[in-house]
Amino acid sequence: MPEVVPDNDVLVSFRGVQKSYDGESLIVKHLDLDIQKGEFLTLLGPSGSGKTTCLMMLAGFETPTHGEIRLNGALLNHVPPHKRNIGMVFQNYALFPHMTVGENLAYPLKIRNFSKSDVDAKVLHALSMVKLEKLAHRYPAQLSGGQQQRVALARALVFSPQLVLMDEPLGALDKQLREHMQMEIKHIHDSLGVTVVYVTHDQGEALTMSNRVAVFKDGIIQQIDSAYTLYEAPSNSFVASFIGENNTLEGEVLSLQDGFCHVKLGDGVGLKAKAVCADKAGARTTMSIRPERVRLNGASEQCANRFTGKLQEFIYFGDHVRLRMEVAGNAGFIVKVPVSELDGSWSVGDSIALGWNPEDIRALDPLHP
């Protein structure tokens, strides 16, 4: 085993971690991951992608089949959960129903033998952080879902752990409350400087809250980057389709030049795209372009890639309208148009000129090889 060089900025490191429940199929295939101090890292992926298993291994409720996990350079593999000093917020809150809110928060402090006055002060401080000072004497059953969620958050933070894990904590809340709580958790993270590892399958949540997002699929991190990079520069077809909306076009690479490639579509039309995964002429590729990068009519005239789309459907979203069009054989091609730029003369069945710049369309690995 090579000597691990202590890195002062790294709080948690996974090295070669694998996890199998049945000894045959690996739910986590190979995980190398460094989590920086003070970072808000989100593990994002569809269910069964291994993200929750990674969190549970970090918390100590699952043991890695292979590989090692370190916290502050110290090996965690043989440390039981209750000695890891890691806060955790559970999906169903997991508040102790027989204790009041105050008692729930005092629980980790009493275990750590804080004096009574310290316990009271810390409980009050944690409750004020989530704006629930007045509810210390209530039982969890007497609180709303949102309030219970805040108590769970306060309880995970009250003993000042360096690291807090959150396992889809907002899953049970309605949309408006969830968005509000996202901001609240983000602000608490900013003010405390605590390191957060957050698991979700909601990409919106991941994009708005995180410093970095790790996208999981089939037990492997597909890409780990800032929200901006993930959205604007996905490194493969899965990430492009999982994060945000994207239009795909299938084709064959003809030639490569200066980071761009010429691609022939199924119907013989050629276009120029940014070569990301496409590495040799003759390879199949799936190209991805975001709906808001497509220009229409006059705006499309300076674009290098120009097409004609047949308008199939208007989908009204209040602030913008989505046009579903048939472009180069793809009948589900979506173009986002702000309501103010909508041309009143368009109607279903019209042919509309459209286009995009080569740097906005990314040639990735083939989605259907």
Partner: protein, 274 residues
């Protein structure tokens, strides 16, 4: 209440159903209703009709050394057996629900078997097994077998409570720094307490009115109240038995009501809405 559109058949069934319920309750309660009035009879025999009322059989019960001795024995054996059965049964139930191992499905029937096997067989078996060990004619042997008879009730009630237990509470407790033992004491035990208490209550009553095993194992020193009643019926049918029965019934009812009240109160605290 019946809706306005109820048909005559529905109305008929509505009242028949209620009548049937009353009849079932009467059937269940009738032995008690028959014996309690007799304990107040002035007559020397257990017969109806009651000619005049008196407290003489209660005086006989509380004044008689044999009755008091057996009552004392019951209050030694039953609580001791209850504590033993509750501790062992709770641990067994917790272990069986939290762990997964081969042969687990066979272990549950083994633990429940004292409840299924005829008590006479338990009595004979215990006698044959205990007498070479010197465990007959003393309290310890009696307590051990009564505990074994009580364990199945505790295992069943605690397992039932645990089946609805939210296991993420155990994880939450661990993540907050509590050792497994502390988690059991502070989180698991308080939450499964209703099941533990019900099981303990069943174990107590099992021991408190057990007579067959006692016949085999108890010497003259260990005669319990039911054993004393049993010999009382054989030798002379004195209405003091009715008084003893009334006392037993009163005690059991009071115990049951107290525990139900305690359980209901803790339940209300936890589930109360603002």
């Amino acid at each position: 209440m019946l809706p306005n559109y109820a048909s005559p058949v529905e109305k008929l069934w509505y009242w028949t159903f209620r009548l049937l319920c009353v009849l079932v309750l009467v059937f269940l309660m009738s032995p008690l209703l028959a014996i309690i009035p007799l304990s107040f009879s002035a007559d020397s025999f257990l017969v109806y009709p009651i000619k005049s009322f008196s407290w003489r059989w209660y005086a006989e019960f509380f004044g008689n050394g044999e009755w008091m001795h057996s009552l004392k024995n019951s209050f030694i054996v039953a609580p001791a057996a209850t504590v033993l059965a509750t501790v062992l049964g709770t641990l067994a139930a917790v272990g069986l629900t939290s762990a997964n191992f081969p042969g687990k499905s066979l272990l549950m029937p083994v633990l429940i078997s004292p409840m299924v096997v005829p008590v006479v067989i338990v009595g004979v078996g215990a006698y044959l097994f205990f007498s070479p060990l010197g465990l007959t004619n003393n309290y310890l042997g009696l307590i051990l077998v009564h505990a074994a008879l009580g364990v199945p009730f505790v295992v069943i009630t605690v397992s039932a409570t645990l089946s609805g237990f939210n296991t993420s509470l155990i994880k939450a407790s661990a993540s907050l720094g509590a050792s497994p033992l502390l988690t059991f004491r502070k989180v698991v035990l308080p939450l499964i307490a209703p099941g533990v208490v019900s099981g303990a209550l069943f174990a107590f009553t099992t021991s408190f009115d057990e007579v067959v095993v006692t016949l085999f194992l108890a010497g003259p020193e260990q005669v319990t109240l039911p054993r004393q009643m049993f010999s009382g019926i054989k030798e002379n049918i004195s209405p003091a038995i009715a008084a003893a029965a009334a006392v037993l019934i009163l005690f059991s009812t009071a115990l049951l009501l107290t525990l139900e009240w305690l359980r209901g109160r803790s339940e209300r605290i936890r589930t109360a809405k603002a």
